[in-house]
Symmetry: C2
Subunit: 416 residues, 2 copies
């Protein structure tokens, strides 16, 4: 098996070519990838079947097997996603500022690719195509390291993408898959300094922690979302119930789903029963503070400190009655993972304070946290939601996979 | 002594206040800091004298003692620098994009502080004031961890800054200095996850390596500059000699100084003697390839692989004759630290290829690499030159010490 260092060298060489590739060349390669995915669907499904069989034998849970499973429809979705990336604007080469200095030097700042991007992910083989397409569009070479459960599917997908890219006239090594799925290869990728310009983990909290703990290359953390909705004293009751219901139950397993309801004590008595009623439709388990249980009765489990700190990703909701906006803000400052936070209010002043004081990638007034998503924001496909403040925050699309450089044109200027 | 975790908590609390402080409040605090530095100059100089005495006793080199030494003039320089930061534009609150989505959601992106910034630096006590001022201007709390040689000076500076900030109405903990200068405190700062939003090392290659190797918090690498000047076949000879002389000798100890001269073989015979003549004025030691030594004689030392990889920061220059632009680009791709790279040429095509293909923070055509600097670029004071591609590249001024967030205004929108 190839060493990661060899892969790193090949990626750097490919990245040098991609950095100056014209948009038309990159888009041609993306369309070729989409066609190849469709054409090779039978082989990909064959490989996926083998992964699923091995997964069943290894005792993977049903939800993991579901994430692993491909179908004609899912492959078509991957291909359509790659075509959509081809249609987005190319950020490379954009000049966002420039001036002439008093000494006549012309200085401008131009958007360039990051270079080589590493992606570590888990069982979902569609990430292989999605991530590769976004990286390629932004002129980056990518080294993909998926989970061992999906290795056969990933190989089938990566091979057909590499062939397509090469036929389209760009280096096959623009896309490389790490075939060694041992923990050692994952750790080595995290320390591939000198080759990787950034490493992006896509997966659960455990994966992200492991990357943050072990990586020596620059990392962008994605995904953990301990999201709150604060129902303020002046909230419209129906709106509050709709937003809580949507934020909690429309897709509980994703990072922009709500995990804790904070509710103003002056509205709690009236609002909590209404909200509980809605959540009962989906059998959401509530875990509440003492005041919540006074209002809703002690069939509601008591909430622990840990509940407030937990991203349930399930039909479970922590609830806390707070005495005012300040207490809500303090709770959020303490427990938020900085993903998406919402206030439901009719108070201009409280809306303004909430949006200014809450430190998160996305701060909502009177809308569901579920909108935090590249597509919903109008930025197209994304590689994840960054919850860190460095480089990219919120949905990371093609533009967030770029850097910039300064170009300086002179006529022999020297520094005094 | 306080634990770093306690300091982290205080910094977070201060950061929450700073995040919504008005520009006028921050600028008032900065002017108060400048006044306090001037007023407390005698006490700061006293502390510095003790540092210098201890340093001499510990056998510090003269150049290290020089970096450590303060004077009335240097303190005035620090104060003036802080005032200059007060005069720069406040980036916080700037909205750089926004739109209304088809469902009526208004989404805009607003610039916000990073939060808590850690700075690890070495013997220069002026960094204490410079870094604190830039962080404060951008609404960040800062935890400063300077070298043990400067601890007394740093304490005197930090104490007077804290008092000034508090008197001006902002939290004293906006600026904190780690008083424990053991290696353990430095390592603990690198792993202060949950409190530090970014750690910026300012210092030599050894410090930066240690941070990259050990940090689990996000890091911005600064400073290493293995910069090249490529003198192309068509270069204007006088311009080439001026640029090489300036880039190498105007201040050899800084990161934007030139370290290797690459020269086209068709001009080398004529140009190298002229360039050597200029460099002889400053007794620059040349280390050349075989062809260089044929031209200049074997009083020129042979260059090793290691010489090409070294940031000399001294009156030493590696020289290599290359057969064309491609060989120059390949050399730069191999050895460059991605800081500043220059071509001297009269060829439009080669200028264009060089600026597009060289992967560095600053790419020059016909100007000295010495211009890579926040002030020279017109961006004001800087905290360092980033040589990484994530978040910030090139001079890092106030704006690079910020992040952003999305604010979403709705009327009860939920996701389908």
């Amino acid at each position: 098996m190839e060493s990661l260092e060899q892969m790193g060298k090949k990626a750097k060489a490919a990245a040098r070519v991609l950095a100056t590739a014209a948009s038309a060349e990159k888009d041609k390669a993306l369309r070729a990838i989409a066609a190849a995915l469709r054409e090779n669907a039978p082989a990909i499904l064959e490989a996926n079947k083998a992964d699923l069989a091995a997964g069943r034998e290894a005792g993977l849970t049903e939800s993991l097997l579901d994430r692993l499973a491909l179908s004609e429809g899912r492959i078509e979705g991957m291909a359509a996603g790659v075509e959509e990336v081809a249609l987005t604007a190319d950020p490379i080469g954009k000049i966002d500022q420039g001036s002439v200095r008093p000494n006549g030097l012309q200085i401008y700042r131009v958007r360039v690719p990051l270079g080589v991007i590493g992606i570590i992910y888990e069982a979902r083989p569609n990430v292989t195509a999605d991530a590769a397409a976004l990286c390629l569009k932004a002129g980056n070479a990518v080294i993909l390291r998926g989970g061992k459960e999906a290795i056969r599917s990933n190989q089938a997908i990566a091979n057909c993408m590499r062939e397509a890219v090469e036929k389209a006239g760009l280096p096959a090594d623009s896309i490389q898959l790490v075939e060694d799925t041992s923990r050692a290869s994952s750790n080595a990728l995290m320390r591939l300094n000198g080759y990787l310009d950034v490493l992006i983990p896509r997966g659960g909290a455990g994966l992200i922690r492991a990357v943050v703990e072990n990586a020596t290359v620059p990392v962008i953390e994605t995904g953990t979302g301990n999201c709150h909705v604060f129902v303020d004293e002046t909230a419209d009751l129906d709106m509050a119930a709709d937003i809580v219901f949507n934020a909690k139950t429309s897709r509980p397993s994703v990072c922009n789903a709500m995990e804790t309801l904070l509710i103003h004590e002056k509205i709690a008595g009236k609002a909590l029963p209404v909200i509980k009623n809605r959540l009962d439709e989906k059998n959401v388990e509530l875990r509440g503070c003492a005041r919540t249980r006074e209002i809703l009765g002690d069939t509601v489990k008591p909430a622990t400190e840990e509940d407030y700190a937990t991203e349930f990703l399930d039909y479970i909701l922590a609830v806390r009655v707070v005495k005012d906006l300040d207490e809500a803000l303090a709770h959020i400052a303490r427990y938020s993972s900085g993903h998406s936070e919402c206030i439901v209010t009719e108070s201009y002043e409280n809306a303004r304070r909430f949006e200014r004081e809450v430190d998160a990638a996305a701060v909502y007034v009177n809308a569901s946290t579920r909108f935090t998503d590249g597509g919903m924001f109008g930025y197209g496909a994304e590689i994840g939601i960054s919850t860190q403040k460095l480089h990219a925050r919120g949905p990371m699309g093609v533009e967030q996979l770029t850097s910039m450089k300064y170009v300086i044109h002179g006529d022999g200027q020297i520094r005094a």
